[in-house]
Amino acid sequence: MNHIRIANLGFAYEKQPVLEDVNLEYDKKDFLALIGPNGGGKSTLLKLILGLLKPDRGSVRVAKGTSLAYVPQNTNINRDFPIRVIDTVLMGRLSQKRFGFFRKEDFAKARKALNAVGLEDFENRSLAKLSGGQRQRVFIARALCSDADILLLDEPTASLDSESQIQIYELLKKLNKSVGVIIVSHDTTVLLGYATKIAHINQKLHLHGPLGKKREDFHGEHVCPVELIHAGCDHV
């Protein structure tokens, strides 16, 4: 089943074309990586899928009943903001459109999401005091908390050390058993071990894959990337 279907998509920022004639079909069982040069249109495509931007041409269709959740770039958010971990995750419950304060069931969902990212003991901690990797996991929990079917992440490993990067990828791989993962990323070497489909975007989109079941084989064919060795790569 195709949960996201993009057809003949075109987009320009003030007449400067960013994306042209992009076609893509995405099923949520896939771990899709959007790679490509800076300014190639990766993040723009993510925002078009989310509906934060409107396409100039073509269409983005999200299957009925499929909900998306966004994990923005960590660096876009004020680091010193006074907020607890649990309150950050609870923002994923805003879509319930309830008046006033959050309820018990919202807190239960938030705790479950924190559990899923391995931060169950962090709920009362101050977000400002967490490491970059922990913060990123909080933002993933926030997205999970909204009952999303597909997570869309914009450079979730930017400015993280290689060990935290691997942890994030391992987490996403685990989550990918139940939710879709679409990730914009720079570090292509590491991604090769995790993504089942890779879309290279530089104005146009070229899809590599499906790697599907061959994920492990595909990984084996490659020299284990330096970052993986560091984290203890078990495939070689």
Partner: protein, 272 residues
């Protein structure tokens, strides 16, 4: 020490200081975490045009200031929602326009130049019962909005893009937040005046931010700080016969600098 409370104007001043602290701690917290100090300054100074217009036309000055502050708030809110970086020129122009227009209108009003200074530097010692009721009413509005829409204000301040994807009308809450800032500014004008307002909106929340782990605790902590600054400033003003607004801000800024030095010393100790 408590003999100063035997004067009615002093009682009023202390009540007004409490009301101002409620408004500035809630509003100041939103101003500081959203990096909107310049927006608050623009609204405060822009509102001087409304004040001048009201005096010129024979209305209550604070009513004029209130109406123009809210109008400027809506204008800034709508224009700055998309590009928060590009708004500073417009606010700068509004800031200057408000002051110039206000002064000209006051100049053109026959026999009126006494209260000009009182709005620039505040006049908490001359606050009457009516003013106190107006301030209490505006306070109630601010507190109610902060309580009812706490999670929305938090979400929009923290990450408005995510909030809007969750179906929160981020633009609406952003504009409402700026309108609340305008109300908070108006409440504080009489106490500390246009020029000193910024310090009361920023110093207590800035100090509180270092120790708070939520917007609510930041608001609570800055309320206490603000109250301490206001009361000790008022007491100093009474004891040494100096301007109340300036005395309050002097206490606040000296505390602020001591706080910065303390943080610096503590920080270098931790590193060493």
């Amino acid at each position: 020490m408590f003999e100063i409370l035997q004067f009615e104007f002093m009682q009023n001043a202390f009540i007004a200081a409490l009301l101002v602290s409620i408004a500035t701690s809630i509003i100041g917290t939103l101003v500081v975490v959203n990096r909107m100090v310049f927006v608050a300054g623009g609204i405060a100074h822009g509102s001087y045009s409304g004040l001048g217009a009201a005096v010129f036309l024979g209305f209550a000055p604070m009513l004029g200031a209130l109406v123009s502050a809210v109008l400027f708030a809506v204008l800034i809110g709508l224009l700055s929602y998309r590009s928060k970086e590009r708004i500073d020129t417009l606010i700068g122009a509004m800031w200057a326009f408000g002051m110039a227009f206000g002064i000209i209108l006051l100049d053109l009003t026959p026999g009126y130049n006494v209260e000009l200074m009182s709005y620039l530097f505040g006049s908490i010692l001359t606050i009457g019962n009516f003013d106190i009721w107006v301030m209490a009413g505006l306070d109630l509005l601010i507190v109610a909005a902060a309580l009812l829409f706490y999670k929305e204000f938090l979400a929009v301040s923290f990450d408005s893009e995510f909030a809007s994807l969750q179906g929160v009308n981020a633009k609406l809450f952003y504009v409402v937040m700026i309108i609340l800032i305008a109300l908070g500014v108006i409440i504080s004008i009489q106490a500390v005046g246009l020029i000193l307002i910024i310090s009361l909106l920023t110093i207590p929340p800035f100090m509180a931010e270092r120790y708070a782990n939520s917007l609510a605790s930041m608001m609570g902590l800055s309320f206490l700080l603000s109250l301490i600054f206001m009361y000790s400033g008022l007491y100093a003003a009474y004891s040494f016969d100096i301007s109340s607004g300036a005395a309050v801000i002097a206490v606040a800024s000296v505390s602020f600098f001591l706080f910065l030095i303390y943080e610096r010393v503590r920080g270098s100790k931790n590193e060493g």
